[in-house]
């Protein structure tokens, strides 16, 4: 299980705080380039809001397109953080240690990015004050007795997502406190004062540790229902729509949740590989961690595939002409059938084939490829659920149409990817992306036992 040499605390501090205390040369260039892409995307969004939705490829049957796909995709990515941190923390999996922080921060940023999507997707974003959506930023216009409609998934949705955002920020901050204290002790001037504020008087005494651990476990347990509810509700945005035949399926909630975990954990694995490469953290993000993630992913992917089969099978099971029309469009009509094949291939068969081989799991290049292919696939999955369903909504064949995204939509979608990357890079300058205290704890707890002539790695269990 545990590979690599034992590490000293000093070395851990030095290596993991490297990103914060000094910044590499490429840092500002990369961030600026990404910043420019984000600015361009924001400009495109502004142009779209100014001109009207005519500049997109949306039309009457296909009223939702790239933006909603992208929204669901980023919400999905955000599910990795809690999946890894909370579940693995509760189940005391040793290999979680280097992965949790990056996963949690990815959660926060992808959630923030996701939430921009429905906002610019509304026809009149400046009026969204009537929606619960802008509640965290703009006070609700309650004085006139006008309330949002709680029956709609579009109100459940922001409620769940903001709960999730709040709790995951809390989750990150609680886990960061000991590391902030380390930073406080190693910085001077303004940053010293800021880290001091953030560390909230952390001295590392027994009581503080106890409280921090209890808070972590409690938050883990409390955040899990939120985590499940978020993507369930996102799926119910679709599942509640009776009129779109292929959406109104009972399996959607768990199907989306598992799919989100699938794409999210892949994304985290990719981020970890990237961090290892960029910051040279070979001692922390070791092959065994990526390997463990990949083995977890085989299980998640297979579960996801089961739900996918259920969804498709029961689509045909109904033998209703209107649903068959959608499925026919998805599976038989070009280019959707090609996308469908690519989607199933890159989301399940290619990566799982890779993950089943031990040597491939330990080859970082192949692992990155598998993780990226999963995420391409999961993006396509949402796209192939949303658009064909709308394009063949009912049997009014006169209204059937297709959807071709416009340049504006491509730019904005591309901008969200740049935005998450940029935010991750910027935060790497501010907080350590690998939890120092968690790694140190792991180092303390690791030991080995001898059975006959064999030495087996072992851990101290605290219960």
């Amino acid at each position: 299980m545990q590979e690599g040499k034992p590490l000293q605390s000093k070395q851990i501090n030095r290596e993991l705080l490297l990103t914060i205390l000094n910044s590499p040369k490429w840092f500002f260039t990369t961030v600026s380039v990404l910043g420019i892409i984000v600015m361009v995307a924001m400009g495109a969004a502004g142009y779209m809001i100014n001109q009207g939705f005519g500049v997109t490829g949306l039309n009457r049957p296909v009223m939702w397109g790239f933006f909603i796909t992208n929204f669901v995709f980023w919400i999905g990515i955000s599910h990795a953080g809690v999946m890894l941190s909370a579940i693995l923390r509760l189940s005391k999996a040793e290999w979680r240690r280097p992965a949790t922080r990056a996963a949690e921060i990815l959660t926060v940023f992808s959630l923030m990015t996701a939430m921009t999507m429905p906002l610019i997707h509304t026809g009149r974003p400046w009026r969204t004050v009537y929606w619960i959506y802008t509640l965290p930023f703009v006070p609700y216009d309650y004085a006139r007795g006008i309330w949002p409609n709680v029956r709609t998934p579009l109100v459940w949705d922001p409620s769940a997502v903001y709960t999730y955002l709040t709790s995951s920020i809390l989750f990150v901050v609680v886990a960061l406190i000991p590391d902030f204290a380390v930073l406080r002790d190693r910085t001077t001037g303004m940053s010293h004062r800021i880290y001091g504020l953030l560390a909230m008087g952390w001295q590392g005494n027994a009581r503080q540790w106890k409280l921090q651990i209890i808070a972590g476990v409690l938050l883990s347990a409390l955040i899990l229902p939120v985590f499940v509810s978020v993507h369930s509700i996102v799926s119910w945005d679709f599942g509640m729509a009776v009129s779109v035949k292929s959406w109104h399926s009972t399996v959607f909630a768990p199907y989306f949740v598992v799919g989100a975990v699938h794409s999210g954990v892949s994304a985290v694995a990719f981020v970890l590989i990237l961090l290892r490469y960029v910051y040279g953290w070979q001692n922390y993000i070791r092959h065994e961690h990526i390997d463990a993630l990949a083995r977890l992913l085989v299980v998640v992917a297979t579960g996801w595939f089961y739900f996918l089969v259920m969804e498709i099978l029961f689509g045909f099971y109904g033998r209703e002409a209107d649903e068959i029309a959608v499925r026919d469009y998805q599976f038989m009509v070009s280019p959707w059938n090609i996308w469908m094949m690519i989607f199933v291939g890159v989301t399940y068969f290619l990566p799982v084939a890779i993950w089943l081989s031990r040597s491939a799991r330990r080859n970082l290049w192949i692992m990155s490829l598998a993780c990226i292919s999963v995420n391409i696939g999961m993006w396509l999955e949402r796209f192939l659920i949303i658009v064909p369903g709308l394009a063949r909504k009912q049997l009014l064949t006169f209204d059937w149409y297709t959807y071709t995204p416009s340049a504006v939509e491509w730019i904005i979608v591309g901008g969200t990817f740049a935005m998450v990357t940029m935010l991750m890079l910027v935060i790497a300058r501010v907080v350590p992306l690998i939890p120092l205290y968690d790694i140190k704890e792991g180092e303390i707890l690791r030991t080995e036992i001898k059975i006959g002539r064999v030495t087996v790695p072992a851990v101290f269990r605290e219960d």
């Binding site: 049957p61 009149r124 779109v244 149409y401």
Partner: protein, 278 residues
């Protein structure tokens, strides 16, 4: 809140498909009445045309024995409207006259209502509406000009109904009998005929394929049809046999369960799915 003169109406429309010739007069009338922007070729090609009522054309048979079938589709003003519960801002709701109404000021354009409309009867304003200067003065002052980014749809020409109500109220007498109106302020079918309070499409239909009235109005032309249709639904609920050969009434996509206030008349199988071959 509750007033004694609360209007008790349930408006309904009956579309006789056997009479529809697909002449598009209703479409033009609607366009003129409701301040709908000019649909250009581009709009049609982008599938973003504003058509509160549209004539869908279907071909039956193989060339050269082809028959064109027409079906006018407009907002069905469903009793159990799928668009209503999904709007996050209550921009669409059911009023107490059986109409599904859209509040333009409230609408933020999430387009969920349109996604959830089985009839694709809801239009989104993709562009800011625009008229040539020469047409500016023909805009109907009773109807709002909608901005870009919101949903709009057929209103059953609610502005005409409201104007009719005002007329009745101002006159205060039944137009035919001359009696004073006491108690409930109620617009009946005769008055509607008198004062041209019909929706524009109904008024303009040359073959009387469209008929519009209060479903509660005993003398009106639609009550009978609605009773018939409701009876079929009731029978199906109780698992009774339905004699399909003796009725022409059906509702569009009955299996979605939206129960529209719009009835089509045509000899069709009411549940075609039930008899689908293997």
């Amino acid at each position: 809140m509750v007033t004694t003169n609360k209007i008790k109406h349930k408006w309904g429309m009956v579309v006789d498909l056997d009479r529809c010739t697909g002449c598009q007069a209703c479409v033009i009338a609607c366009q003129a009445e409701n301040n709908i922007p000019i649909n250009t070729k581009d709009y049609f090609q982008q599938r973003r045309a504003y058509e509160w009522i549209r004539i869908e054309r279907y071909w039956e048979g193989e060339f050269p024995n082809v028959k064109a079938k027409f079906i006018p589709i407009l907002c069905q003003h469903c009793e159990n409207a799928p668009c209503e519960p999904v709007c996050p801002v209550f921009a669409t709701y059911h009023n107490d006259e059986g109409m599904n109404v859209q509040v333009y000021n409230r609408c933020i354009g999430t387009r969920y209502c349109s996604v959830n409309c089985p009839y694709s009867a809801r239009m989104f304003n993709y562009w800011q509406p625009n008229w040539p200067d020469s047409l500016r003065n023909q805009l109907n002052p009773d109807v709002t000009v909608r901005t870009r980014g919101i949903m709009e749809k057929c209103t059953f020409c609610v502005q005409r109904l409201r104007r009719g109500e005002v007329n009745v109220e101002q006159r205060g007498i039944e137009p035919l009998t001359g009696e004073k109106i006491t108690g409930e302020r109620k617009l009946n079918y005769r008055q509607m005929q008198e004062g041209n309070y019909l929706p524009a499409c109904v008024q303009s239909c040359p073959t009387n394929a469209l008929q519009f009235a209060d479903q509660y109005d005993e003398t009106g032309p639609v009550k009978e049809r609605f009773d018939e249709a409701n009876e079929i639904v009731e029978k199906r609920h109780h698992g009774e046999h339905i004699d399909e050969n003796h009725t022409r009434t059906y509702r569009l996509f009955e299996e979605v369960g939206a129960s529209p206030n719009l009835i089509y008349l045509k000899k069709v199988e009411p549940f075609p799915l039930e008899k689908r071959p293997r």
